[in-house]
Structure formats: C-alpha cells, structure tokens
Amino acid sequence: MATLSKAEAKKIIDKVLSYSKADEASVGLGGNRTGNIRYARNSVTTSGETNNLSLAITSVFGKKSGTATINEFDDASLEKTVRRAEEIAQLAPENPEYVPMLGPQKYLEPKSYVEATAKIDPDYRAQAALDSLDPCRKKNLVAAGYLEDSAGFSAIGNSRGLFGYNPSTSVDFSITVRTADGLGSGYAIRDVNDVTKLSTKNATEIAMQKALASVNARALEPGKYTVILEPAAAVDLLENMMRNFDSRSADEGRSFLSKKGGETRLGEKLFDERVNIYSDPMNLEIPGSPYGGGGGRFGGGGSDGRPQTKMSWIENGAVKNMYASRYWSQTKGVADIPPPSGFIMAGGTESLAEMIKNTEKGILVTRFWYIRAVDPQTLLYTGLTRDGTFYIENGVIKYPVKNFRFNESPVIMLNNLEAMGVPQRIGGNLIPPLKIRDFTFSSLSDAV
C-alpha cells in the first residue's frame, strides 16, 4: 500500500519523532506506485510497475545534522533508524548555514490527487499504448512513445510541531511519430493529474499530422525570424529562466539578476510590460505542492516546510520577487519565499490557429531540443528545433523547414514579444504560445 491516509502518515511520523533524543528532528514520509510502458518501432519495448514507501529522518544537534532512511515500518526498525540518524549527525561536520526548523504552518490543500489516476493498471497502460500504436501502424508511420503514471503522497513533520500531508497523482505521456522513410517527424507531449483528461490517441494524431506535414523540409537561411513557439517549445527557455530567480546568486553578483555595482535587478523592468509570471498552488489546471522544496521541478528533494502561496515573480515586465533559502533570507533580510513547484505565464485569448492566421511571415516551432546554457551572465541558451518546424506566410503554414540551431536569451526573447495565446499545461506549468520577433537562429541542422 503505497498511499497512506493523512491519519496513517501522521501516526507514523509522531511515533518516529517520539523516539528522537536530538535537539531537533524532522521526518519526511513518502510513498507512490509508479508504472510505465515504453514503445518504439511500433512495438512495446519495456513496461513495469514499482511500489515504494520510505521514510527519512533528519536529526540535528546544534548545527550538525544527519539523515537516515528506511523502508520497513515496524517499531524496532523505526527506532533503529532514528538512532542511526543521530549517530550520523554526531559525526557530521557543522553546517554554519543551518537554520532551526519551522514550527506549525498553515498549508493550502491543492487538488492534485485524482482517484481515476490512482487506479491505473497494466491493462490501462497497454490500451493507452495500443491507442497510440494502432493509428500509426495503419498509416505506415513509426511510433515511439512513453507513458508514466504515479499515485502517492508526501508527508512532513518535525519536533517543533509542524505537519503537512499532500496526496498527488500524475500521468506524463510523450509520443514521437516518424514517417517510414525517416523524412518526417512529429511530436506531442501531455501531462495531467487526472487521467480522464488524457487521450493518447488525440496526442498521437497531432504527432502523426506533424510527421506527415514535415516531410521534404526546405532550407531557409539562418538569421533573425519572427517565431511562434508552441508551449512545449516556450516552456524550456522560461523554465531555465525561472531556475535562475534565486536571490542569493543575484546578491552574490553571479546571476542575470545581478547588476553593476553589486545591486540586484529586483523591481527593475526587464521584460515587455505584458509579461506576467506567477505561481499558484491552488490553480485547478496545475495544482501544486502545499509546501516548498517538496520535490517540485525547482526545489529538488526534501522540504524545509515553508508554505507555498500565490506568488508573483514578474509583474508587468518587472522583477517582482525572487526566491531565497531560509538561511539567505535571515542573513540578508530578503523576502522569505520558497521556489515554486510550477509557474503560470499569463497569456492572451488567441488560439494557436488564430496566432498563425495573424502572422504575415514567421516560423512555427513545435519544440526545442538539447538546450544548454552558453552564458549565465546573459542567460544565453543554445539548442535546436525538432519534430515539426514550419514556415508561415500570409496566415497559413506554407511548407516544412529544416531544423535550426538557436542562440537566444529568454530575457531578450521576452522583450521581443509580439503576441501571446491561450496558456496550456506543459510539464506542470501553464504556458501560452508565444509570438516573438527577431528570434536568433544561428545555423541549420539536417536532423529530422
């Protein structure tokens, strides 16, 4: 049983804390059931399912901390693990940046758990794969896809009385469809909390259309182009930018948010005034985590227990807030804000089709690939277009074009904003399709 109820989780955490002899102790308890199915060359290649329930206890003496983990839950094992964490803590070097644990917190209750997703079984996965494989086989197209589902919970507690519980479910699906001659390739990606909102067939049909439409791509000269970035393309650059919203790096002078003379760009208008980016754990489309750093896309593992709340990061083009560790917040007096578990970029009302219709000349980008930082000072990134790149003229898609390498900074990109469409969920974020002028493509790629 990988998912425990709130009461069951609290009972275990309380018991573990009752064994503690340390100055402070915190417990993280998590469990999930994950399953996957993978296919390529129109045939299933691997599939599996794992159940996992584990508990980590961190014991602290002064500024020395130690962590031990266990996946057995009898009293003797739990107590042994507490003693082990205490032994590790006593032997650990002192951490001068240690901050005492938080007391009780009030947490929001995002609706991130959906029973239908928790009930996914191998039959569902096989059917989901077949729904995707069948249409491709019939059209002599070649499918490669991956579906991964997860249902579980996380719970946190500490010796100062803090307790939090968050059940969640998720499904991630991606599909690449290629033409049999290898001259066309299309892609679609979906992520949901509620599996009833996922149709692998519909997603596959989009990838099929793109595969067929991308055959015989023409070469355009590299240069600066107006582009429409679908959400799957825009999200990569935006996520990279949001990962750099850390106060400490900015204060230390090693961030794009640092500026001459040692100050930061907090409050500075750095983007087009229509740019608004915020996070909201209660958003129904992308329900987030109630507490910070709980394994979210920005926080890594573990949680310091800070509550997640609605938070504005960029408001009317100005840097509104940066996140900070509790240590940095207390040391420097900067705002005590955890990194978000996902973010929302406010968009417009146009659909992608309307955005294409309103474009005189431009390039439609399905997704980017192999994005890497080139210069952290300017947030310059490089990467390539992939799986469906098309030339738009007078409001219609004219023909497929060869893939480009880009060298561009999201900061420059968000200053060259032309239009935004209706935001869509992508990778736990809500991102609109973005129309950007003067996007820098620096060379051509022969890759399909």
Partner: protein
C-alpha cells in the same frame, strides 16, 4: 546526453541521481553477501524462470554504493552516503523480453520476482512484432573481476576528504576566486551476474570524480566568469587524487594537463587565476579558425558526435522519442566507404583501457570486454551493440555494451569507451601550435548541444587562447564553435602523439525512459581541426 555539468548555480546534486537509501559511511564498508551465497540466490531465480517457461534468463544481484561530498567556500554543504541492494531478473519467454526486480532477496521473494518477469514477457508477447534474436554467449563459469586500485575511496575517512576540499577551496579563494564549489563523487558497484548460459560473474567496480567550479566576480562592472575543474572522472580508487608529478603534462602558458593522477589543489589555484583573467579577456571575432583541441575538451565532442550516433539502438529507432535517432544509418555503414572523417581519424570502442570508466571484466549480459574499430582511417566500419542487436550488423558475438545503472533498471545498450587514436608521428602541443596561423586553443568542457540525429553541434569550453602566426597571443572569451559532424571530422588535420594521450570522462550520461545514467571515458591526444566556424556568444541584456 549529459545530465550534470555541475556549475556554480547547481551546487547541489541534480535531483534523482542519488540512488538507494542513505546510510552512514561505515556501512558502505560492510561486506556484501559472498559469491557462494549469491550463486544460490541466482540459481533460485534461474530455476524459477525456467520452470515458468523462460528460454533464457539472466540475474543481476547488485549492491550499489555512492558517497557524494558537496562544499562551497569554507563550508560543507552535504555529505551523502547511499546504498541500494536488490535483484533484477530478465527473461525471454515466447520470444519476448520480460524484466522484474525486487529488494526482497529471500528465496520466496526471488522466485516470485522471476515468475513476474516471465508473466510480463508472456503478456507483452501478444503485442510483440519482432521476436528477440539473442546472440550466443558461451558461459564463462564462476569468475571474478575487480577494478585495479591501490586506495579504496570508501575506506578513506570522510574527514580526510573534507580536508582536501577545504584545501582546494582555500587555494581558489586565496588566488582571487569570489566563490568556489567543490565536489567528490565515489561509486562502487558490487555486481553479481548469472545466466542460463552457465556464467556466474562477480565484479567489484569503482569510479571516482573530483570536480569544482571557481567563480571570479567583478561587482563594479557587474561581470562574473567561471572556470570548472579540468579533472576527469576515472575508473580508479582514491589514488587518482595523489597528484603525481609523473602524470602531469605541462602545456603552454603554464597550463597543466593531468593523465592518470590529478592535483586538485594545483588545478583550483590555476582556475582562480584563469577565471579572473577571463573577466578581462578579449571577445572573439566570429569567423573561421583552426582549432587546437585539448583532450579534456575533445572528449565531449567525441562523445556527442561519434559515441552517440554509433549506438545501434539509436540507429534502429529505439530512442526516437527521447535521445533521438542517428544520421549514421545502416546504409552508410553497408556502403563501406562513408567518410566519417579524414584519414587522421581512427576511432576505437573498448572496455579494456586501464583507469577508464568503461573498463570492466564483463558487461551486464555476461559478455567479456573487448576492443573494436568504429571508424578506421576515416571510414565508418562498425557500431556499438548488444546481444539482441548484433545479428543486424552481421556479427556472431556481442561487443559487450550492455549496462544497467541499478539492480532495478533493465539493462540496455550503453556506450563503451570511444577514443580517437593518437598520432604516430612525434608531436607535442607546442609543435602543433607552431604550425597554426589563425587559431584557437581550447581546453575543458563547456557548453554543449547537438541535434537529435547528431549532425549539427555547438561546443564551448573552459579556456580559450588565441593563436596567431604559431604563437599564443592571449586569452579569448565568448567562444563557441558550430559544425556538422561529418564536416568537422573531415577537417581533422593533425594529432599529437601518445605522450599527450589522456582520457576525458562523462560520469552521468543519460539515456532511456525512465532515464538511466552511465559513465564513460573518451581518450585522445591534442588534435587540430582546420577552418571551423567560431561564433561570438556575447550578448547584452
């Protein structure tokens, strides 16, 4: 694809790379079950699978140990010790693969796991379109292999390691660094493999990666520059950190290359000075340059533009939805005259080179390590393959490229060492630079990106030196080169000799869904490429 290029902004371990449960360091030294006990466990699985109808079974009993240390400036951020233990069973039933894994290593738990693997194989066989053709592998009986090492890193006290990192960080700070992060990664795989071929293979594999990032800051100008370590991850013990003078290769401008022994304090000292110098370095003028590429840089270019495109599973389309496919299609190989590179280019795959990350006795499907050519005198001649693929390229035996990153991951094709042969004519780096009129000498792994079929790439580096009329005239900044794989390798003009040969390594190379990591080395001597397109990456925001 590289999962981790730990930089100043990413001092903590990328989420998900620590496997298993956290334990204390002493526990990592506790002996695992002995080979006789593991043979008994393996036989339970082999018999259970056979009785359920498997026609082939292999079993991997794995104990995977990791110790990672993270520091910044004079502070210890984190010390992680992790242990993971369990058993993975892979079977063929009805011509289809099935895999199951469990941490329940009781006889019942093992038998159940094997039965589940068979059940999955049978279930998947209903939608299977390509029955498995497994290349024969003669059983090797009961054998053992161990990474040759003189100092087991897990036996070195954590305090000694922290003291070293503090010395490294202190050296960087004293020499002008504003910030420094340093890390030590140690991995020990205690793997027992058994199969119905009659192999019982006990292996003890060690890997090490010391690394750091030094940041120099000019707050008044609002500028910062970093310089990463030019160490290499190795298939060695703690002796890699001895810093032996005999393994240092002196280069121009006070640069030092490290072969099989690394002086981390010396490198941090140089890094701090060089990071400061980078702040005032001249911004490159875009254009064509002859590139002189140090082995610690060229290794990643080999990895991305030769290693990955010649993975047979990519060529066939098994990675189409994630890492991508390959331009190096079977028809190019069959033609027998595909000019991957110039005549200077002979690239070998192996799992035999001493001290490398790819060096093992046997792969994760019981195949002994070997060496073979991928590119011979510029011509594409072979791929990297495993037992269920080699029939496609007309081979009778697997090349031994199968690997799983854990007992609970299914093994699949992973890259062996892929290395460029050194030149046979006597030539030092200084000799090579003397012959260059307009060029750039590049050292270290920087920004890197390549398309999903491995045609178009862009690489940066850690250090760039401008060469004019045979001499280094100063440091450059904002440098990246863009090329096409075939064009680039055909511009290969000259190689230094074996005295300059060193390995570069990738410790966290990602592939597959769900993603698995592997570690791989790439050897080369300093090599010259003519007329490569260099871009300027400087921007203003």
């Amino acid at each position: 694809m590289q999962l981790s290029g730990l930089t100043a902004g990413a001092a903590m371990l990328p989420f998900g790379l620590v496997m298993g449960r956290e334990v204390d360091a002493a526990q990592l030294l506790e002996p695992a079950a002995d080979a006789a006990a593991k043979k008994k466990m393996a036989d339970i699985a082999l018999n259970a699978a056979r009785s359920k109808g498997a026609t082939y079974t292999d079993v991997r009993i794995g104990r995977y140990l990791q110790q990672f240390l993270f520091t910044r400036e004079m502070k210890v951020q984190n010390v992680t010790n992790a242990e993971s233990y369990g058993i993975g069973v892979r079977v063929i039933a009805n011509g289809t693969w099935g895999f199951s894994a469990t941490s329940d290593v009781t006889p019942d738990g093992i038998a159940k796991c094997a039965e589940t693997a068979v059940a999955i194989a049978k279930a998947n066989s209903k939608i299977q379109t390509e029955p498995v053709i497994l290349a024969a592998q003669k059983g090797v009986g009961e054998v053992a292999w161990k990474t040759p090492l003189t100092k087991n890193a897990f036996e070195i006290p954590v305090k000694e390691k922290i003291d070293l990192l503090m010395k490294v960080n202190g050296a960087a700070m004293q020499n002008g660094a504003g910030f420094v992060t340093s890390n030590l990664f140690f991995v020990n795989e205690q793997k027992y493999f058994a199969s119905t071929d009659g192999s019982y293979i006990d292996q003890d594999i060690h890997r090490i990666w010391p690394t750091f990032t030094v940041t120099a800051i000019d707050k008044a100008a609002g500028k910062f520059k970093t310089r990463d370590a030019i160490s290499s991850p190795m298939g060695m013990g703690y002796e890699y950190l001895d810093g032996l003078a005999s393994e240092k290769i002196p280069g121009p401008n006070g640069l030092v290359g490290y072969r099989n022994s690394y002086d981390m304090v010396e490198d941090a000292t140089n890094a701090a000075k060089q990071a400061k110098e980078k702040i005032g370095a001249k911004s490159v003028t875009a254009g064509k340059y002859d590139l002189v590429l140090d082995p610690n840089h060229l290794g990643l270019t080999i990895h991305e533009s030769v290693g990955h495109p010649l993975e047979l599973d990519r060529v066939l389309g098994y990675e189409a939805n994630y890492a991508g496919t390959s331009f190096a299609t079977l028809d190019k190989w069959k033609a027998g005259d595909f000019n991957y590179g110039s005549k200077e280019v002979t690239i070998v795959a192996d799992r035999l080179q001493p001290h490398t990350l790819g060096k093992v006795g046997y792969d994760d499907e019981g195949v002994p390590s070997k060496e073979w050519n991928l590119i011979k005198d510029g011509v594409l001649v072979n791929y990297q393959a495993i037992r269920d693929q080699v029939h496609i390229i007309g081979e009778k035996e697997s090349q031994g490229c199968c690997y799983a990153d854990s007992w609970d991951s299914v093994q699949f094709q992973r890259m062996p060492n892929v290395s460029l042969k050194a030149g046979t004519e006597k030539r030092s780096v200084m000799d090579m630079i003397k012959g260059v009129d307009k060029g750039i000498y590049i050292i270290g792994r920087g920004s890197y990106s390549i398309d999903q079929q491995r045609y178009n790439f862009q690489f940066g580096g850690q250090l760039f030196y401008e060469i004019k009329n045979g001499e280094i005239v100063g440091m450059l900044d904002d440098v990246a080169y863009q090329s096409n794989t075939q064009e680039f390798w055909n511009s290969c003009a000259q190689r230094c000799d074996q005295d300059d040969y060193r390995t570069f390594g990738s410790f966290f190379d990602g592939k597959g869904q769900p993603s698995q990591v592997s570690a791989v080395s790439h050897g080369s001597a300093t090599t010259r490429f003519n007329g490569v397109n260099v871009i300027n990456t400087g921007r203003k925001i």
